[in-house]
Symmetry: C2
Subunit: 297 residues, 2 copies
């Protein structure tokens, strides 16, 4: 048996179409153009590529966007002053600082400086708390929201199922475990958070109806960690050397795809699985921030 694949690109495309329609409606009916500011500190090429793709998606959806590039030597105070300016700026509804930041800048300080109402990444502690409490006024981080949407639109029954989340990061593992265990639609799962210190990890993973790999280690999930027919969502994006690839490396997930696809029932590829969902959910969060700002949601 070979797993069916979840086509994240196609599902993200549906959401982007919905997003574009919503932007058009807001412009036409309310004279409101959602606006996103993305700040890039330094010149990490991967970060620059992410920022460019967010900017491009804003343009495609008819949104306003501002791309702010700061030198890698930028002091934390300078970045916080810039954030504060954007917090005040009327035509900006979402603010995002691309991770990782140079080491003189504390990401915690950055996350806490963004106005919670413009925190479309969902990293401000107040939004983390709201998400933990199931308060819908909070912003759910984009990748976890994308995982939930991917499951829902693939017809996976999450309610009552056993979800095992591998990893407990603030960006993925922790929030995805919180949202899937809420008493809510497309949620209500039994959720286990496992990690590098878990004993009996293979057995725990095998007990999952839905396994979400977000541990940041290339090809970590092997077939013996997957129950026959389980749903496997691969959040990892890891570079591995590959002399035969044009760039000298390849992107692989946290799941040993070729081996696991013989055992899983449903599986996301990397790339083309969770990845495209992240930007789609960022756009959705920004649109929602704009409507909330204007008292429309």
């Amino acid at each position: 048996m070979s797993a069916a694949l979840i086509d994240g690109k196609q599902i993200a495309e549906q959401i982007n179409t919905e997003n574009a329609a919503e932007v058009a409606r807001l412009k036409r009916d309310r004279g409101l153009t959602p606006g996103l500011a993305v700040i890039l500190v330094g010149d990490n090429p991967a970060s620059a590529a992410y920022v460019a793709s967010k900017d491009k998606m804003c343009a495609r959806l008819g949104m306003h966007s501002e791309k702010i590039a700061l030198p890698s030597a930028t002091a934390q105070a300078g970045l916080l002053a810039m954030i504060d300016r954007l917090n005040q700026q009327e035509n900006i509804h979402g603010i995002l600082v691309q991770s990782p930041t140079p080491k003189q800048i504390s990401e915690e300080a950055v996350f806490a400086a963004i106005a919670p109402s413009k925190d479309v990444d969902g990293f401000h502690p107040l939004n983390v708390g709201k998400v933990a409490l199931g308060d819908p006024s909070g912003f759910v981080p984009c990748t976890p929201a994308g995982v939930q949407e991917l499951l829902a639109r693939s017809g996976v029954a999450v309610e009552g199922a056993h979800v095992v989340v591998l990893g407990r990061s603030r960006i993925v593992g922790r929030p995805v475990s919180l949202i899937l265990s809420q008493k809510a639609r497309n949620a209500n799962a039994t959720v286990t958070v496992a990690h590098s210190r878990s004993k009996g990890l293979a057995e725990i993973c095998r007990s999952a109806d839905i396994l979400i790999a977000a541990i940041g280690v290339a090809r970590f999930v092997k077939p013996e960690m997957v129950r026959e027919g389980a749903v496997v969502i691969d959040v990892g994006i890891n570079r591995v050397e590959d002399p035969t690839a044009p760039k000298g490396y390849r992107l692989v997930g946290d799941v040993d795809f070729d081996a696991v696809k013989e055992k899983a029932g449903l599986l996301t590829p990397v790339p083309g699985g969770v990845g495209p969902m992240t930007i789609a959910m960022l756009m959705r969060n920004t649109i929602r921030a704009a409507t909330m700002r204007c008292g429309l949601a």
Copy 2:
């Protein structure tokens, strides 16, 4: 085999002795007396008893306390104005509004109105977020903090163990699952959050090394849900009718104590298990709020 019992009363007593010593030290060395304000709205007798015992514990530890009783018809705005006054009041370091509040008052609004730095119950969304992120500047809710302390002082190895939490309330289930899965001391467990909608609940519970029952149903946990020798922590406090008892009712936990004690390795009784820990941790949170306020922690 019969389970050994965890004596929560004795462990809470140790902590209260430590708390009293810390209060004495702060008064002597810093001229600082930690102060707690407890607000009771209405005349629920159980709530009145809880408030009285908190007040009494403050007196015993040498802390300042204010007990504020408001009529049950108090409007939400009136309560929020009172909270705002206490937020400003210099000699009050912790503020607590006794649950439940009358139905004209939104508990969410109350929790969000208390200054996060005085939120010794740990229910403000900002503190919930900090706890979810493992940020030590947040206040951990008292009962979950008590459960963690009870495990630590009973010599239970939590790291790497599989903890199953039955229940996902904001007061117990959710925060205890968050703190025990953090990368931290007395934590680092694999944590599963299960609840009334979980499929295969008995099997999930049986996979626990440590089972924490916080589901609010009298004697819900039966022996077939407990692995031989497991640690079982009973957070429930339920009234059940008992004509032979002096008051006509008895307090029982979420665990079928008499049956489960033949199977568990270590078990908390109700009363005398988790209950006494809650006040001890409230006092500890208030002392910490006072020292943080004065830049000492």
